[in-house]
Amino acid sequence: MLQILFDALSLGSLYALGALGIALIFGVMRLVNFAHGDVIAFCVFALLWPSTDAMAIVFAGQLPWYLLVPFVLLCGAGLSVLCEIVVFRRFRKANPATMMIASFALGFVIRYFLLMLFSSRPKSISLLPELSQPVEILGARLPLLQLITIVATMVILIGLTLFLRQTRFGLEMRAAAENFSMARMLGVRANRVIMGAFALSGALAAAIALIFGIQTGTLDIQMGASIMLMAFIATVIGGLGSLGGAVLAGFLLGAASVIMQVMLPIDARPFRDAFVYGAVILVLLFRPQGLIAARGTKERV
């Protein structure tokens, strides 16, 4: 029972972090960033030296953890800001569909750039192997990593909340998310806020990359995409632009996946995802604006 709870929480953490990264950017730019999953993949591969051999040549992955974590976070933030400066800045005024396709095209570019450097074969590395040791808590054997995932997510969420509530930059960002043109008129620098949002979202992508890389031990170019899709769905059913909603929905999706895996009859288990997506449609039907509707995104008449 406890095992299920922790499974749900740690899966939910990944989704929640991903959803947060998408919601942050959506909040300030109304951009649904399909390149997010590829930023995750990029961060994972930043651990390796470029080579197309089957054997992974670990490069940054050998650093001690207190250097490794900031390095990967910086990679994610840097790439994300770069995307903003090179690409998304030109799409500020474009309609959402155009921006979405542009972000998809950008993700495509990043993915094939990685493919060129690393080939499409999945690579296995053991990153911080001591974290995979199981620990015993209240009679349940859990991998230490699962605990760390949950704790790290909590720390990130609390830190982000404090950042958004207590600092001037956070205030500007929240103002921009609520009403961008009004915030600009009141002296919020658009470029700075948008770049800040991209940097934060990139760092979140890097956090996911680290956790996922350690958890699975294999690096695959496709890995970003699956999390990204779930995160994307979580962002929408949480209420687009609402950060709290995104996190809540991320955890709910994680819980729904894990619970259905356990509760469904054996025959129906392969179809689990179909049930999860069915539930998503149901939620959207009853709350099309999301679980927690963000202010400022309501349709005005």
Binding site: I101, A105, M116, D273, Y277, V280, L284, L285, P288
Partner: protein, 363 residues
Amino acid sequence: MGVAASLANSTAPGAAVAERKPARFALARRTILTPILLSLLLLAIALITVMTGSRPFNQTVIDVFVRVILVVGLYIFIGNSGVLSFGHIGFTCLGAYAAAWLTINPMMKRGSLPGLPEWLLETRLPYWQSAVLAALFAALAALIFGRVLMRLSGIAASIATFAMLAMINTIYSNWESVTGATSSVVGIPIVRVIWPYLIGAVAAIFIAWAHAISRSGLALRAARDEPTAAAASGIDIPRERLVAFVVSGAVMGLGGALMAHSIGVVTPDTFYLGLTFITLSMLVVGGMGSLSGGVVGVVLLSALIQALRWLEAGVSLGGSTFALPKGVQEIALGVIMIVILALRPSGLMGNRELTLPRSSRNK
């Protein structure tokens, strides 16, 4: 109808002014040039292909025509309703598998797909009948899903359609006895002649045109541009969206069936995110507000992909061979798409249709 029609004026001038009833088929006569020109474009491509007589080129052009069908199918819903759908490739999947069920040799079917009902196991139809049935099957699925989904709008609708695609994909990847799960279903008769695909593409274009100038299509475009005013003048938006959803579902199903016949093998993952995004990109790059945009987007992007592939394979220029490194093709494609969208955010065609210069005044 009065306000709605005047709202639709941007695309169909003077369609129905309350006092003066226009001549019958006036709108049809004014706009028919667009589908004719687009069909002539495709016919020209087909003729060139037949004249060169090269097998690989033939296959490439068949792929282009299949994509034209798919993108036109997307346009019918997305272009007219303004709602981005990620789920339409699900209907393509349904259509392709329906075509597989109907055309594979019964002996083989009994071995590989034993879970099919008896009457379906016995059936073996020619490919064109199966394509029509596949389109109807996809339309039926669109009707069922659409009843539920069309109540949503905006990004929630996009996500819900994506959830529908993921549901279809999950079911088709796991229902071993009926769809062969993730292993490919082989033995679909392959049609290598170009004409059926040309006919399919032209049919799709004319269906899209007929829907766009129909009462329902006009109402839907009015609702896309001014939802509040359209609803206030009596347009039942979910209903008009449902009509477009079903029509586009049928076209997507037709495209799926023809796609199955062009490659002879179907797997669920052929009809998932990759195809969704490439077709959506073609529509948006071409210009999602116009039928011509969709067709032009497919032709141009396909030509671009093909050109990059040739460059990757190596071109001999004045004695020395040039070849791009592997992977540059996709990267270049992505970069070119971003550049096009940055320069023309509403796509290559904007929201205009292809017509002769003289009649462009009417647009």
